[in-house]
């Protein structure tokens, strides 16, 4: 089967399974809501203050929610020995990787779309800067988390304390991307500075790490 065909088939399967069970999306939603509520105990900001801190809050909530979905990325495949089947098939390892990464990307983007109105309501948010910039920021930022997260989730499979290993590996490496996401979002919300630099940084980060993960994934998959 061609690269794209395998990728599309795997992606479709994952989306279909998720649509039927809605496991991941429910867990993510609940988790994000929890984070929002708990933060509200710590901060009771005015509209102006909340614009300054919302960038960080929002991305922390999305990051933790992403961990929830990333942790179960490969679990399903392990259970039914699907991973072994993939290793033995002639299908390119990268088609599997991209399918998983895109699947996770879609899940997290859906979560972000659902949570945004809630954040706006809870923290009385309104963007002073160009609000449309939040779309590329969300896209690039989410991809940065998801591409590395899917890769590290595959690495964590072969470790003890799997669920602990993933955030342990992901967080330090994601720091530049997180810095970019948070600052870009804050820049747009407060309108005090331009998000251009941070968006460029996110683009560069995404390009470098997508290529690196694609180059290395086959090796990781082969490691028994």
């Amino acid at each position: 089967m061609s690269f794209l065909a395998v990728m599309r088939a795997t992606l479709a399967k994952d989306l279909r399974l998720e649509w039927r069970s809605k496991d991941a999306i429910n867990a993510m939603l609940f988790f994000s809501l929890l984070v929002v509520v708990i933060f509200s105990f710590a901060f009771e900001p005015t509209a102006e203050e909340s614009r300054k801190i919302a960038g960080g809050l929002v991305w922390v909530a999305f990051l933790f929610a992403a961990i929830v979905v990333l942790n179960q990325t490969w679990a399903r495949e392990l259970r039914n020995h699907v991973l072994d089947a993939y290793r033995m098939s002639p299908a390119s390892a990268n088609s599997l990787f991209l399918a998983k990464a895109f699947g996770n990307f879609i899940f997290v983007i859906v979560l972000e779309a659902l949570m945004t109105p809630l954040f706006i309501a809870f923290y009385r948010l309104g963007a002073i800067g160009p609000a449309w910039e939040l779309v590329p920021i969300a896209t690039l930022g989410t991809w940065a988390l998801v591409v590395n997260g899917t890769f590290f989730a595959a690495i964590s499979l072969r470790t003890r304390s799997r669920e602990v290993m993933l955030p342990l590996l992901l967080f330090p490496i994601s720091v530049p991307a997180l810095l970019g996401m948070v600052n870009a979002t804050t820049a747009v919300l407060t309108g005090e500075e331009s998000a251009r630099f941070w968006i460029t940084l996110l683009v560069a980060y995404d390009v470098v790490f997508t290529i690196a993960c694609l180059l290395l994934f086959e090796t990781i998959l082969e490691a028994e």
């Binding site: 003890r160 720091v175 530049p176 940084l201 290395l216």
Partner: protein, 227 residues
């Protein structure tokens, strides 16, 4: 290398003693900070040594991914471990320097923050090694070593830009360096490099012995089982 070890040990000891003397007594006293500034001679070369070791880790990780030689893996492990030790020294001396100068233990200044993140990256590398089951640890670690090294320039650059926008007190001093101070700095760096080499060599030999023993032990248990 076996014969070289005692010579290296002596050279290291001599250099370290001389460098210490220069740092504490030989170097001129800094005008604004006073004697506390002398921490600089240990703080900075530790970071430089760590950087060098992490570059070695990057090279060794790539070498392992290409050739799969156990020696490359052992070099990667050794350089990461010793690098973390030196970086820990940098992260500990930083706040000790900051406290009398700025009155605070920590400041999220560019260098300290970036160094902390780099430290976290390589500690996570060591944890991955510890937590992965035997056979695949070298491969997984090599992948992480490559990604971690790729991340480091992003870390420093992004945090630097962030700090130019939101300035905070700077540890480690900027500005030009008195040539006599630069001289002492380089002497201390040379001493640290010798120390790093010594410690890496020791750690490497330890790893070689450890793997030999593990191999022998697994062989023994195989034989035991077949009896």
């Amino acid at each position: 290398m076996k014969r070289g070890f005692p010579i290296l040990a002596i050279v290291t000891a001599v250099l370290l003693s001389f460098a210490l003397y220069e740092a504490l007594i030989g170097a001129p006293t800094e005008r604004s900070m006073g004697d506390v500034q002398r921490i600089f001679y240990y703080h900075v070369p530790s970071a430089w040594t760590a950087f060098l070791l992490f570059s070695v880790n990057f090279g060794a990780s790539i070498a392992y991914l290409i050739k799969r030689r156990p020696a490359a893996d052992m070099v990667a492990l050794t350089s990461a471990e010793v690098g973390v030790v030196f970086l820990t020294v940098n992260l500990v001396t930083g706040p000790i320097w900051a406290r009398p100068v700025w009155g605070i233990w920590w400041t999220w200044d560019w260098r300290l923050t970036s160094t902390l993140v780099m430290w976290l990256i390589y500690v996570s590398y060591l944890l991955l090694r510890r937590f992965s089951a035997g056979g695949q640890a070298p491969l997984l670690a090599a992948a992480l070593g490559v990604l971690g090294a790729l991340c480091v320039p992003f870390v420093y650059f992004s945090i630097w830009f962030f700090r130019t926008q939101h300035p905070s007190p700077v540890i480690g001093g900027g500005g030009s360096l008195d040539p006599r101070m630069a001289h002492v700095l380089l002497i201390n760096w040379a001493a640290f490099l010798c120390l790093a080499w010594l410690v890496c060599w020791t750690r490497y030999q330890l790893e070689v012995a450890k793997r030999q023993v593990e191999e022998a032990q697994s062989l023994e248990s195989l034989l035991d089982g077949s009896r």
